[in-house]
């Protein structure tokens, strides 16, 4: 028995109920789509008015540099979540990429960076094959990598952290171009690239279609497996880029702590940014805004001398709110 899809065919009361539900869904949909921007705007206005030195260039710089790695990682995670998957390995991939830098810095900065990025690509490829070809659940496949890769990273550096003294490399983390920190510049460029990829390319539209209805996508002849593998690969690559930048910023590779819990920050940014965990939609700009929102919330509370525990509780509240407004999506969809 199929549920009725044509409201006109229902009796009046039922039709009213359907209309009521639709208009409610539309209101919630608006909050879901634009809520993160509104929240960000309100928070910025509040800070301009109430927080001393908020608009000071130095402060803005610090905030942006801090948020950049989360943002980069979240861009990849957003794509994965768009396919109704999840990538928990990103924090460990950052540690791995960081650990590879000091090992290969002797061959020059470009080689070291290339090797680090290849590490991320290999990890993403592995996760993608596990998920798409072997059929392991994404959460399990990437959880295994989360545990395993950090172990590999620590093993590579003998369980130690390693100072990096190459000014050329460290400049990536601390330097600026025309006053804009390189880290921030890279994050911005990557956001634009991923946004273009998702919105305007065949690949991006396939990602969304597969996330929206994998059976329909397969029947329409879409290369489901190849697309999924590519998505995980890109997520690994983006995490590795974040790992390299963070290593340069810290001037050290610290495999035991680098990128720790990053997967959770990234997922938070994605969800707060309005990308549903049920897949079928990737909001790149929303993800950027989500990362910024979480960063500024934290900064605001700290500036106003609230204890860190309160920050965590506010973050939790934002996450719950974001998931709540997405919850209705399921109802509107089916």
């Amino acid at each position: 028995m199929t549920a009725p899809t044509v409201p006109e065919q229902l009796p009046d009361r039922a039709a009213d109920a359907v209309r009521e539900r639709q208009s409610r869904a539309r209101r919630i949909g608006w909050i879901r789509d634009y809520g993160v921007y509104v929240a960000l705007l309100v928070l910025i206005i509040f800070n301009i008015a109430a927080t001393p030195n908020f608009v000071a260039l130095d402060n803005l710089r610090v905030q942006l540099v801090q948020v950049a790695p989360v943002m980069i990682v979240a861009l990849g995670v957003a794509m994965v979540i768009g396919t109704e998957g999840i990538d928990l390995s990103v924090g460990a991939v950052m540690a791995l990429a960081g650990a590879l830098i000091p090992l290969y810095l002797g061959y020059g900065v470009p080689v070291a960076i290339a090797v680090a990025l290849l590490g991320g690509i290999a990890s993403g490829l592995f996760a993608g094959v596990l998920v798409a070809s072997i059929g392991v659940q994404p959460i399990v496949a990437t959880l295994a990598l989360l545990v395993g890769l950090r172990g590999v990273a620590q093993l590579l550096l003998g369980g130690q952290f390693r100072q990096i003294s190459s000014p050329e490399f460290n400049n990536l983390g601390t330097g600026s171009v025309l006053g804009v920190p390189i880290v921030v510049l890279v994050a911005a460029v990557l956001a634009v690239i991923v946004g273009f990829l998702m919105r305007r390319t065949v690949f991006g539209r396939r990602v969304v279609a597969i996330g929206g209805n994998p059976d329909a996508a397969r029947l329409a002849g879409l290369p489901v497996r190849r697309t999924l593998i590519t998505v995980y690969l890109l997520s690994g690559l983006l995490a590795a880029i974040a790992g390299v930048l963070l290593t340069a910023y810290q001037k050290a590779a610290t495999p035991s702590t680098q990128g720790l819990l990053m997967e959770l920050s990234a997922i938070t940014a994605v969800v707060v940014g309005g990308t549903p965990l049920t897949g079928g939609r990737v909001r790149v700009l929303g993800t950027v805004a989500g990362a910024l929102l979480m960063q500024i919330v934290t900064a605001t509370l700290i500036k106003h001398d609230l204890p860190e525990s309160s920050t965590q509780m506010v973050q939790a509240a934002i996450i719950i709110l974001a998931v709540y407004v997405q919850r209705d999506r399921g109802g509107a969809r089916r």
């Binding site: 028995m1 044509v6 305007r200 065949v202 209805n213 996508a217 029947l219 329409a220 002849g221 079928g280």
Partner: protein
Amino acid sequence: MSSTQPQEVSAAANVNRPVLSVRHIAKTFGGIAALADVSLELLPGQVHALVGENGAGKSTLIKVLTGVYRADAGTIEYDGAEVRFARPLDAQLAGISTIYQEINLVPLISVARNVFLGREPRNRLGLVDFRTMNAQARRLLAQVGVTVDVRRPLRSLGTGTQQMVAIARAVSTEAKVVIMDEPTSSLEPREVAKLFGVIEQLTASGIAVLYVSHKLDELYRIAQQVTVLRDGAVVHTGKISELPRLQLISHMLGRDIAQVQRQGVTAFDDRSGADPDAAEQLLDARGLSKRHQISDIDLSVAPGEIVGLGGLLGAGRSETVRAIAGATKLDAGEVRVRGRKIRNGSTAVAIGAGIALLTEDRKADGIIPGLSVRENIVLAAMPRLSKGGVVSTARQRAVVDIFMKRLRIKASSPEQKVSELSGGNQQKVLLARWLCLSPQLLLLDEPTRGIDVGAKAEVQALVAELAAEGLGVVLISSELEELIEGSDRIVALRDGRVVGELRGDAVTENALLTLLSGEPAANPDPPPEPAADVPDAAVPAADLPVPAERTKEQR
């Protein structure tokens, strides 16, 4: 195994009082009546067949009986008293056991624990008494002819044996009524024979069995009573031996077998134009086989020809078109398009060869709800409408506009979400998705199900138009008018096999129903009088060994 006839006599002794009577049950969902005034009586020691097409209300009725749903009206009398089961467990405890089509057991735990799940024997400390449990499980399983190590995890057994475990579990609850929902859908013929043996044991001990299946051969072999549901109402109930197969099918499908002429109520022109033998074959599928679904199906389609696939629920129609479209991997058989063999099991390859499949279930594997009308239409054609992997919205728009106009898709704009459209418009969007690939062969699985009358006529007219342009079409429809008026030729399927073919003037409802019923037709042409009174035409079929061993010449 003995025939069912003697048993009916032996059971007749305690037949006088029904163990379960359902009276005037009604159930509505969101304004739609799923069951309307349904009454049914189960007699102890008898097998009662419950039949009906999709949406007839069989599952709803079972769920009402087992306490999953509450009826809006009507009463259920069980074992002499009126009952109201608030939840499935109450029904189970009272002695109504259900064996679902999908086995509802826990694969990873032991066979014995599955049999006793939720009512494990305990020792004095309140812990599970494994020794007693295993011994009892072994005894119960032996009763249904299964001898396995009961400590093994359930999933290490074959599907048929798992089904037997489910039955052992059902019996062990001291059931008085056992409900079986398509218990043979995943069984081998040998296992079916075993199951029937167990059912005979059950009925011999006075248990009433409600048996849901759409395999007619099985029903006539095992059941004594039959109730036919259609659109939520009982259209027939009585002794199955007094109901000829043809009559049973006409009840299920809602056809009066007296009226068998083409009625001209669909938007198809009277199709008799295409001559299938004259042209080069567009599709030539040979020996398509997939375990438990279809076996040895041959199907060919000429350009410009509409070939109907006739059959009841579960006959293998959808499975056949899915196999041709590469959506399922075949065990055997080959598909050729214009003489060239195509690799099976890949939708991309089939699409590349010009095959398009419009699936039966729009929501489950058709539309992508979160995307716009435009994106749903261009989904499969995306690479052709892009440059260097970059989507060109302008080029997509041009194509989408053409098809939205041609198919008269009603949407506020191409950017409207497809999930906001009506069923008929969603269906047109899916048709457009395939048409913009300029396919050669259209496989249409229930293209007009659940869409409004206007859209239905439009879709039908479009299909006829496309065939006139030279496309080959395979049409599946549960509506007989649509199938008969829409098709140049009808291939009839039953139990996953081709049982006959009708073409030209032989395409009539009566001829088709006769083929589907599996009754031996005396005359291949439609007889002037309906064969309503064929005396016990079903009985010979009851002596046949097993359905799957039947050859297709048998008709």
